[in-house]
């Protein structure tokens, strides 16, 4: 395989990394994603790394870069499915991926994006303004179910407060 496939789901892009990435493949993904964000007007990017057995500093940097790039292009990125062994290793490596938001599962990731991206139900790239004040019922189950006003917020604070704050580890 010479390209990682990017799927479009409503106004989200979904990338599921299924292969042991060599460096060029990772760089290509970075380029492809920014192009697709612009071309589709996507507001969110989900990167599923549950199949990745390791994340080293190169792949870690790729994820950070994708997060920053997409933010500049007005799309929010969430990395989902990081394995425990990978997370433990990253902490030891000293790579805390500042600025990258993460979620345990694809579902949690969708909820995180749903809370602020307002996922559209159709495949139209344009977001229906009439829906502006409603919960994204088209993706019920993805949106934070119990959220009252501001209820979606807690889902984001955990990750956001992390920001670059993960760097408290002192060794």
């Amino acid at each position: 395989m010479d390209r990682i496939p990017i799927l479009k789901m409503g106004n989200l892009l979904l990338v599921s990394i299924q292969v042991d990435l060599h460096d060029q493949l990772a760089l290509d993904l970075q380029d492809d994603l920014s192009e697709r964000i612009v071309a589709t007007g996507a507001r969110g990017v989900l990167i599923d790394i549950s199949a990745l057995e390791i994340v080293d500093s190169f792949i870690g940097r790729m994820l950070s870069t994708i997060a920053s790039l997409s933010r500049l292009l007005d799309a929010e990125t969430v990395v989902v499915g990081m394995r425990p062994a990978v997370a433990i290793t990253l902490v030891e490596l000293g790579l805390y991926m500042p600025g990258v938001r993460t979620a345990l599962t694809l579902e949690h990731g969708l909820a995180l994006l749903g809370a602020e991206v307002r996922v559209s139900r159709s495949d139209e790239d344009e977001i229906d303004d009439a829906q502006g004040d409603r919960e994204p019922d088209g993706l019920a189950g993805y949106a934070p179910v119990r959220a009252g006003p501001g209820g979606g917020e807690p889902a984001t604070t955990g990750a956001a407060s992390r920001g670059d704050g993960g760097r408290t580890g002192d060794r």
């Binding site: 425990p84 997370a87 991926m97 938001r101 807690p154």
Partner: protein
């Protein structure tokens, strides 16, 4: 009778397989008081005897030599098997030493000289020592495995609420145990899809720098995975240690009690707690 090198005269008599092997099995069966059956011993010792005589016929008595590979493997199986079955080291090495007495009769019958007999005896001693070493190594392994199992048992991850897991830690925390906790907690977050983890250390006596670092790393790893991790029950003494060690708990959320930690986790999930008015019906 063959005239071999001086000192090798004990090898040829061992070709009287049936006689030596029968005695060997008898002796071992007696020593082990029927904890292993005679047919079992016949098979086990028979294989060893074959490997022994084949290797000796190939020449040389250096146990480390290539031709003794099969024998070493069989002896290793024997002693690790015995170690796991709970036989004592004496019983295990005794199985090998019994070969000495078992072979004495044929040695006498064949007029094996004193020098040769001593060489034979030394060789069997070496086999015995090898067996003993393997035995000890296996016991070490068994101990490690058992203490790992104990560790796993002593660090249960419990579900407090849908999406909220907790590990209540009790006793002394060492590095190995803390690491084990870290791994099982993170695994449990994934397998249950829980977004909140609480590490409760109310029952922990003291923490050293390393343990504190491990706790910190657990929290950071959980955050990297997209989960929230709260530490509850830090007692004043531990807080002082942590502060005096200069460990930064800055970004880490801590709560005084497990109950408060649970309340926080639930609030983060959008729950609100409201006390019913007095007299309201409780179902």
């Amino acid at each position: 009778m063959d005239v071999g090198d001086v000192g090798d005269g004990w090898i040829e008599p061992l070709s009287e397989r049936d006689e030596v092997l029968t005695r060997w099995v008898e002796r071992v069966a007696g020593d082990l008081r029927a904890r292993l059956s005679v047919p079992e011993l016949q098979r086990e010792l028979g294989e060893i005897y074959t490997a022994l005589t084949v290797a000796l016929t190939a020449g040389g008595t250096d146990l480390r030599a290539e031709q003794f590979g099969e024998l070493r493997a069989l002896l290793a199986d024997l002693s690790s098997g015995r170690a796991r079955q709970g036989f004592t080291p004496r019983e295990t090495a005794g199985t090998v030493f019994a070969l000495k007495e078992a072979a004495t009769a044929v040695m006498e019958k064949r007029n094996v000289g004193y020098r040769d007999y001593v060489r034979f005896s030394e060789f069997i001693d070496e086999l015995g020592l090898f067996t003993f070493e393997t035995y000890v190594r296996t016991r070490d392994q068994v101990i490690v495995e058992q203490s790992n199992q104990l560790l796993e048992l002593s660090t249960p991850v419990i579900k407090l609420w849908e999406g909220v897991l907790a590990v209540p830690l009790v006793g002394t925390l060492d590095s190995a145990r803390t690491q084990m906790v870290m791994e099982s907690l993170l695994e449990a977050l994934v397998s249950t899809g829980s977004r909140h983890a609480i590490i409760d250390i109310t029952g922990v006596g003291a923490v050293d720098t390393q343990v504190a670092q491990h706790l910190l790393k657990t929290v950071m790893a959980a955050q990297l995975m997209g989960a929230d991790c709260i530490i509850s029950g830090i007692r004043p003494q531990i807080a002082q240690t942590v502060v005096s060690l200069g460990i930064e708990f800055g970004e880490i959320v801590t709560k005084a009690t497990l109950a408060e930690a649970l309340a926080l986790a639930l609030r983060r999930d959008g729950f609100r707690f409201v006390r019913r008015a007095a007299g309201a019906e409780i179902r």
